[in-house]
Symmetry: none
Subunit: 210 residues, 4 copies
DNA sequence: ACCGTCGGGACGGCCCGTTTGT
DNA sequence: ACAAACGGGCCGTCCCGACGGT
C-alpha cells in the first residue's frame, strides 16, 4: 500500500516545471531563461522536462496560459458579488491590482504576459496571437463592466468602453514596466489612483450637485 | 575638393553598428539579438565590432543612449517655440507621438528603451540604472511643461505634475506594448487622444461655459 | 549473456576524451590544444565533452591525474619484487625509464606532467598545486627507495635521499625537454646511465675492492 | 636642433617590445601571450608591433635569441679570466647559475629557452631547430671547458665531456621546471651543488692525496 | 508512463593575429 | 608608426533527441 501514493506523487512534476518557468521567465524573459534553469529550479532533470513539454516554446506558451488563468481567478475574487453596482466592482478590481502591487505575493511586480509580449510579439507570430487573445480578454472583461456601469448610471458622460478598456490595460502594463525600471512600485499605485478618478469623472453629473 | 566622396564614405562604421543594433534590438530584444546579426546588418565584420564596442553589453548601452538622444531631438522639434503657451506645446508633444505612430519612419512601433527595460531591469542592475535615468528624464521633461502650464493657467484644477508625468510615460510605454501585441497601432492613438482630453480637463474652468 | 557487446561497447566516451586530451596536450600543450581537437580525435561531439567535463581546465586536470596514474602503474611493474635489494630495484626503475625512451609506446618522448607544469605553473596556481603534488609523489617514492637502500647497505657514503630524489626528478624532466628539442632521445639514455653510475658511487665502499 | 633626438628617440621601440615579449612569454609561454599584451606592456600600439616584427612568430624567435644573448653575456662575466684553471672557471659558471637563482633579477626563475622549447619543439619544426642550436651552444660551451680541464688535470677519471655537458644542461632545465612547479628555488641550488660535487669527483685522484 | 543518462550539433560572445590605408 | 577593419577560431552552453531503467 505504500508504493505509488495515488494523490499527487510529488506535487506533479509538470506543475513544478510550470511554476519554475513562470518564476524564471517573469524575471529574465523567455530568451534569458534556459531549460536547464527551469529544470534545476523545479528539481527535475531534462529528461522529465522533455517528457512533459516537447520544447521550450511549448512550456513558454503553457506558462503564459497558466499565469493568465491565475490572474483571472484573482480578478473574480476581487470583483465580488456580480449583483452589486458595476462601478463599485470596477473600483474593486483596480483596488485589487493596487493591492497586488502593495503586497506582491512573490516580491516581484511583473506580469508574465507583458514580459513575453514585449519580447516576442514581433518575432513569434503564433505566440503573439496567443498573447493578443489574453490581452483582448482582459480588455473585453473590463469593457463589459463599463458597459454595465453605463446602463446602471444613465447620466454618465459619453465614452467608448472598449477604448477605456484598452487604455486601462495599456496603463497597467506600462506602469509595471516603469515601476520595474525605476524600482518604485508606488508609481503603479499613483497611476491607478489617477485612473480611478478619471473613470469616476465619467459617471458624475456635470452640475448635478448644486 | 573631390576627394573624400561626399556621399557617406563609410557612414562611420561605428554609427552603422549602432543603427544596426538599434534596429535589431527594437525587434528582437537584447538577448534575441546576436553580435553576428548586428555585424551582418551593418555590413562589417566581428573585428570591427570588437574594435568599437568591447562587448555586447556596451553596444546595448550605447544603443539605448543613442536612441533616446534621437527621440529627445524629435521632441524638441515637436514642441515648437518655447515662448508659446505651455499647454499648446504639451499637446503638440502628444500630437508628435501620435504622428510617430501614424507614420512610423521605420514601420516599427517600438521604443528601444521600453523594450530593453522590460527585458533587463531585473537582471542587469547597472543597465536598469541607465534606463531609469532616461525614463526620469522624459517624465521630468513633461512635468516641467505641466508646471509651466499651471503658472500660465491659474484657474487649473489641483494635481501633481510629476504624477501626471509618470502616468503619461507609463501610458505611452504600455500603449506601445499593447499595440505591438495586438498588431493595432490605433490603440496608441486612441490612448493618447484620451490622455489629451484628460489633461485638458485639468485646465478648464469648472463653470467656464457661461 | 550476449547482451552488452564484450568488445568495448563504446570504450567509455569519457575515457576516449581523456586519452585524446592526453595525446594532444603532450604534443601541443594546454593552450595549444583546443576542445574541438580533443572531441574530433575522440570521435565525439562537444555535447559529449561538456557532459563529462565542465570545462577545458577540468579535463586538463583529469588528464594529468590519469597520466600520472598510468606512470605509477608502470613504475610498480618495473620495480619488481619488493623483497629484493632496494638498490637493484632503483636501477630497475631507471632502466624502465630508459626502456620507455628506447621504445616509446606512442613514439613520443614527452611527459604530460612536465609539459603542463612548464606551461601553467606560474599562471594557474591551483593546477600548480596539483602538479606539485605529483612531482613530490615521484620524488618521495624514489627517496623512500634510497632510504631503504641506505639501510641495506650500511657502508654507503653520506647523502640526503630527498635531495637525490629531486635531482633525479629534475634530471628526468630536463632530459625529456632536451631530447625533445634536439630530437635526440639518446640524451635521456646517456643522462640516466650517468645517473645510475653516480648513484652507485654512493654505495660502493671507498676501499672495498680488497 | 631639438627635434628628433638622434640617440635612441625612446629607448628603441623595438627593444621595448622585445623586453615585453620576453617577460610575458617567460611567464605565460608563447601561446598564452597575446600580441596585445606585448604591446600594452611595451606601451606601444599594434601598428608599431607589426612594423618591427611581421608576426608573432618572428618576435618569439627574436625574443629567444635576445634572451640567449643576454645569458651568454652573463656566462662570460661569471667565468672570469680565461687564463685561470678551467675547473675553477666551471665552478664559477655553476656558482653564477646558483646566484641567479638565489637573487633572480626579476623575481622569476624561468628560462625562456626552456619554456618555449617545451611548448613548441614538437609543433614548430623551424623554431625547434633554432632552440636546438642554442641548447647545443650551451652544451658545447661547457663541454669545451671540460675538455680544457681534462688537459689541465691529467689524472682525471675517464668521461665524455659532451655527455656531461648535456647532463648539466638537462639538469639545469629540469631544475628550473621543478623549482617553478614546487615554488621552491632551493631545489635548483641543491641540484647544482650536487652536480658540482659530482664533477669534482671526476678530477680528484682516487687515493692521490696521501 | 515517467524520468534519468548520455550525446549531438549549432551558435553565442569574445578575442586573436593580421592587413590596409594614411 | 597608428587607427581601423578583418575573418576566423575558441570555449562555453543551449536546446534537444535517443535510449534505458523503473
Amino acid at each position: 500500500m505504500n508504493q505509488k501514493m495515488p494523490v499527487q506523487p510529488s506535487a506533479k512534476t509538470r506543475d513544478k516545471l510550470l511554476d519554475s518557468a513562470i518564476g524564471l521567465m517573469r524575471r529574465q524573459g523567455y530568451a534569458g531563461t534556459t531549460v536547464d534553469q527551469i529544470c534545476e529550479r523545479a528539481g527535475v532533470t531534462k529528461g522529465a522536462f522533455f517528457h512533459y513539454f516537447g520544447s521550450k516554446e511549448v512550456i513558454g506558451r503553457a506558462a503564459v496560459d497558466q499565469w493568465c488563468l491565475g490572474r483571472a481567478e484573482q480578478y473574480r475574487v476581487d470583483l465580488g458579488n456580480p449583483a452589486e453596482d458595476p462601478l463599485v466592482r470596477i473600483n474593486r478590481l483596480l483596488d485589487g491590482l493596487i493591492e497586488s502591487i502593495r503586497n506582491p505575493p512573490d516580491k516581484m511586480v511583473v506580469c508574465l504576459l507583458g514580459m513575453l509580449s514585449q519580447e516576442m510579439a514581433l518575432t513569434h507570430e503564433t505566440m503573439r496571437t496567443q498573447f493578443c487573445r489574453h490581452l483582448e480578454g482582459w480588455t473585453g472583461f473590463v469593457a463589459e463592466l463599463l458597459k454595465e456601469a453605463c446602463i446602471s448610471h444613465p447620466g454618465h458622460r459619453a465614452f467608448d468602453p472598449d477604448q477605456v478598456g484598452w487604455l486601462l490595460n495599456s496603463l497597467w502594463q506600462g506602469s509595471l514596466l516603469v515601476a520595474k525600471t525605476t524600482g518604485n512600485p508606488q508609481i503603479v499605485v499613483d497611476n491607478l489612483e489617477q485612473a480611478k478618478g478619471w473613470i469616476s469623472s465619467h459617471f458624475v453629473q456635470p452640475g448635478g450637485d448644486s
